[in-house]
């Protein structure tokens, strides 16, 4: 049996995050120093980051439930492994960047304490999903993160589109949560357990309850599809991403969406792996649709923020390739793409944050001649979008390479159709270059109306620099990130009882 001390040890990251979150509003009352709360948030995130990275636990450790009505009582509900660690580090990394970049961006708003508290709670929820070993815990984590994200999206109360985005996000989010929960309950009902690993053996092909499982799978694809904005469940995403404060957009794109990916991995590659034949084609089609529609619509956008939102949709499509391919190597590619996307996409959104802070807008016109006004911003943006397009030797190239090549690798025999996933991914990469190149062109080639230097705040510059360094370092020396992703993929695989 697990001792109480062990509960605290295993759940310490989430507990620490929550404590820091709960103190944030109080600090707002006492401190009166706005930046102080941001630093407090950073300290909390850093503490957890240090626990996750330094106190690396060599073996997977699980918590046995005392909260839930599991039967038999020894099933795990919460599990820390290389997988949960890596995802939590990504969430913390993104959360930290957002917290550090926020003070200049939200300086005109009130209630800073709540902003950072919600940010920390959102990160807590995300790490919950990454560490979950049980359907219920996954759902609880999803809800914790989603509900704080709704509030964060509407944080700019005076801005109409922010409120509109929050409403939209809330309604769609609530709807998708309900569908997800319905799917979870169907899978639970058919399998007889809420534990992911047990479901892996209980839900099998040919069982009498398979139709119910298929219905559950459909619900899960729809519900989680909304969460990660997969086509055709993506309609809300561009509006929400565009309307939310841009710092929060970075969190949504690089954090919340990746939480959905983690849930996808856990549900489909652990709990429902035995019935892979029931969902692999559907998810493949969703993946191809997602990347294609995302890229095609992105081409037509004039607002760079909206363009990046669509490109984010497309990137989720690339990650989805990992699920039907379902090998460790493919999942490692998906996880690596989560890491690289966190750096390059949040970096790109922070460039927009910087432009907004200095009084420019979010459209292509505001990027015109940026090279003259702020060479640093222009260079960073160029690197981020080239990396998103998958140009070597930048971070995005490696994750796409692993993802696409995994589909080539598995494409044989009855699964030879998997090659089309790689082909679609590659064609989409070429397609995406078209709109990314437009951003680069307007920054470097076109002449802007003004050549006045932009006074970008130091903290935002530092945040962009960190994302930039991450993008370049992963590009030049991908080995540690790749082997960490492989380790995480194996850890996910190890959740399953042997024999599958």
């Amino acid at each position: 049996m697990t001792t109480t001390a062990e509960y605290f040890a295993v759940m310490s990251p989430q507990i620490i995050l929550l404590i820091f979150a709960l103190i944030c509003p109080a600090l707002d009352l006492w401190l009166k120093m706005r930046k102080g709360i941001a630093y407090w948030t950073l300290i909390g995130l850093a503490a957890v980051g240090i626990i996750e990275t330094l106190a690396l636990i060599p073996e997977t450790r699980s918590l046995v439930s005392f909260l839930f009505w599991t039967d038999p009582p020894t099933t795990e509900v919460f599990q820390i492994s290389a997988f949960s660690q890596l995802f939590t580090i990504v969430f913390i990394f993104v959360g930290g960047l957002v917290a550090y970049a926020s003070p200049p961006y939200i300086r005109k708003e009130k209630h800073h304490g709540e902003y950072y508290a919600l940010l920390l709670i959102a990160v807590t929820g995300m790490s919950f999903v990454a560490s979950a070993a049980d359907l219920i815990v996954i759902f609880v984590g999803l809800e914790i993160a989603s509900i704080s994200s709704y509030a964060l999206t509407g944080f700019q109360k005076s801005v109409k589109r922010s409120t509109e985005a929050a409403m939209k996000y809330f309604i769609v989010g609530g709807f998708s949560s309900a569908i997800t929960l319905f799917g979870i309950s169907l899978v639970y009902g058919a399998g007889g357990s809420s534990n992911l690993a047990q479901l892996g053996t209980l839900v099998t092909v040919g069982g009498a309850l398979e139709p119910i499982v298929i219905l559950g799978i459909g619900m899960l694809i729809v519900g989680l599809g909304f969460k990660i904005a997969a086509v055709p469940f993506h309609m809300w995403a561009p509006d929400v991403y565009e309307g939310a404060p841009t710092t929060i957009t970075a969190l949504l794109a690089a954090g919340s969406k990746k939480m959905g990916v983690a849930a996808f991995f856990k549900l489909f590659l652990v709990a429902l792996l035995a019935v892979k034949a029931d969902w692999d084609v559907v998810i493949s089609i969703v993946a191809v649709l997602t990347m294609t529609v995302g890229n095609l619509v992105a081409i037509q956008q004039e607002s760079v923020k909206r363009m990046l939102a669509y490109s984010s949709i497309a990137q989720a499509g690339y990650i989805l390739i990992a699920i039907p391919v379902a090998t460790d190597y493919a999942v490692a590619g998906g996880i690596l793409h989560v890491i690289t996307h966190a750096a390059m996409k949040s970096g790109a959104f922070f460039v927009i944050v910087a432009l907004t802070v200095v009084g420019l807008g979010e459209t292509m016109k505001d990027f015109t001649g940026l090279n003259k006004r702020s060479p640093f911003l222009a260079f960073s943006m160029a690197i981020f979008v080239l990396s998103l397009a998958g140009i070597p030797p930048l971070a995005g190239f490696y994750s796409k390479f692993v993802l696409f090549s995994s589909a080539v690798f598995e494409a044989s025999g009855a699964y030879s159709w998997l090659i089309w996933l790689a082909v679609a991914g590659i064609l989409n990469s070429a397609l995406s270059l078209f709109y990314y190149a437009r951003i680069i062109k307007s920054m470097y080639v076109d002449k802007g109306e003004s050549t006045e230097r932009l006074p970008v705040p130091m903290s935002i510059k530092i945040v962009i620099a960190i994302a930039l360094i991450a993008t370049i370092v992963i590009g030049i020396y991908p080995e540690p990130f790749l082997s960490a992703s492989l380790g995480a993929a194996e850890a996910l695989n190890n959740l399953l009882p042997i024999g599958l």
Binding site: F401, V408, I426, A430, V445, L482, S483, L486
Partner: protein, 505 residues
């Protein structure tokens, strides 16, 4: 003598690093035009000295006592880079890479010299040319597919900017067209690389290692993978019907961009075919050789005929590149020793010759303000030096005996005759067409009565920084035209290895 100097020096890595350092210095310290010029000349000049040393230190010629030949890569270096995927940084050269490696720093150095008067954003201009040199050098020396692909892609971005920023009126269209066409082609090549990697057990991207394993793969696999390579490299070369990006890119690109594009970037496609595709997938090559021959011959003839109709001098030269690269394709398609050696030599020759041609077009544009043949005429009197150099370049390109292209094209014709017999009559038609369009264009634009649209007193001859690079190139064209064996003999050893894979040699 040079062997001793280069002993233990990672000279190929230096060739990649030096321009990179130069580019970083230019971007960091290029405050004035003078500093930019000096830094870029130094960092593109040292590699020229290095390749000359490599050329003399390169070992060649027949068998060693134990039956080994000099076909193994020389100046070999290898370091593990991404062990999880089996990627390593491996460089080395053999007779196939040597000639192309020779012209890479040379053409970059001469284009930098030629661009002496570029005053718009010089920092970016020279920095990008140096970065392009990094990519091209890497492609010609790397022996690991993964890193090869990375360097292959690095080349695209500077070229996109060179066309996009310093290009002509239609530069946006040309730049994005260039980028998309060549990027899609590289992605198809990447698919083929992935397939090879996994088919061989997903342990290594090493070209030599895969080159040993891959010939044993099934014919169906080889044909598909070879087809993907052929598309990837063929678009780059470029071959009809995927050549349309080239004239657009050339017409808009600044002169140095055109020189590097035609002189070096196109060679990457041909080099890829002979370094990677043919020896690694011999059965695929044997099966698709007729297709290659047809594409090559169509390119030769079609592009030559199109040249006749061009109004723009530079566009004509661009199409002539398509035609001349067709010879490379046909040479390789024969899959025989002479054809392959001649194909590699043709790439070397075309690199030197086409640089002169594009530089001539650049000078004409620079001094007369137009390249449209109709608007020129009779300017030889004002520009005697240019006319002499340009005529020499045109004659070299049309295959005048004694100049470098003649040796290459003659050998290719010979190999076509050996392999395909009297089908030779098709490609040989192009000799007449080529002579026709070059001489006709020369006559209309440079000689004859003075065109009254030209403001004659304003025109002066080519500047020193324009005529010196062209002069150097003409001297080399003559040298290698008279003594082609200097290069041909060094290519031979490596080609024997290719042929052994094909079961011919």
């Amino acid at each position: 003598m040079f062997e001793d100097i280069l002993q233990g020096v990672p000279v190929l890595s230096l060739l990649i690093l030096l321009p990179l350092i130069g580019a970083i210095l230019v971007f960091a310290f290029g405050k004035s035009l003078k500093i930019v010029r000096i830094i870029s000349l130094i960092f593109s000049g040292i590699p020229v000295a290095l390749v000359v040393m490599i050329f003399f230190a390169f070992q060649w010629g027949g068998a060693l006592p134990d039956g080994e030949t000099f076909a193994d890569p020389q100046f070999y270096e290898s370091y593990s880079w991404i062990p999880s995927l089996g990627v390593s940084y491996t460089v080395g050269i053999d007779g196939i890479s040597l000639p192309l490696l020779l012209i890479t720093p040379l053409l970059t150095f001469l284009s930098i010299l030629f661009s002496w008067d570029v005053k718009t954003r010089p920092k970016e201009y020279f920095g990008l040319i140096l970065i392009m040199q990094v990519g091209i050098t890497g492609v010609f020396v790397l022996l690991d597919y993964f890193v090869f692909y990375i360097f292959w892609e690095i080349v695209l971005i500077p070229m996109y900017f060179l066309i996009g920023i310093w290009g002509g009126p239609n530069k946006d269209y040309a730049a994005i067209k260039f980028f998309i066409y060549t990027h899609v082609a590289s992605l198809v090549m990447l698919l083929a690389i992935m397939a090879l990697y996994f088919q061989a057990g997903a342990t290594s991207f090493d070209m030599i290692e895969l080159g040993h394993v891959a010939p044993g793969f099934s014919t169906a696999f080889q044909v598909i993978a070879f087809g993907a390579f052929l598309f990837g490299f063929g678009v780059k070369m470029p071959m009809v019907p995927f050549h349309t990006w080239l004239p657009d890119a050339h017409v808009e690109a600044p002169t140095a961009g055109s020189v590097l594009l035609a002189g070096l970037l196109l060679k990457m496609g041909g080099y890829g075919l002979i370094r990677v595709a043919i020896p690694t997938l011999p059965q695929g090559a044997t099966t698709l050789a007729p297709l290659m021959a047809v594409i090559g011959i169509v390119s030769i003839l079609y592009a030559a005929v199109v040249c006749l109709a061009q109004k723009d001098l530079k566009k004509m030269v661009a199409y002539s590149s398509v035609s001349h690269m067709g010879f490379v394709m046909v040479g390789f398609a024969t899959l025989g020793s002479v054809g392959i050696v001649a194909g590699v030599f043709q790439m070397f020759a075309h690199g030197l010759v086409t640089a002169v041609l594009f530089m001539s077009c650049g000078v004409v544009q620079h001094h007369c303000g137009t390249r449209i043949i109709q608007e020129l005429g009779g300017i030889s009197k004002m520009m005697p030096v240019l006319t002499a150099l340009m005529t020499a370049g045109f004659l070299a390109s049309l295959g005048l005996p004694g100049l470098v292209s003649f040796a290459a094209e003659f050998l290719i014709f010979y190999s076509i005759f050996v392999t395909y017999g009297l089908w030779l009559f098709l490609p040989i038609l192009s000799v007449a067409i080529t002579a026709g369009y070059y001489l006709w264009a020369l006559q209309r634009s440079m000689f004859g009565p003075l065109n009254n649209k030209i403001d004659a007193p304003k025109i002066h001859d080519a500047n020193w920084y324009e005529s010196v690079p062209m002069g150097i190139l003409i001297a080399l064209i003559a040298l290698f035209g008279i003594l082609p064996a200097i290069i041909l003999s060094r290519i031979g050893d490596a080609v024997d290895i290719v042929l052994r894979g094909l079961g011919v040699g």
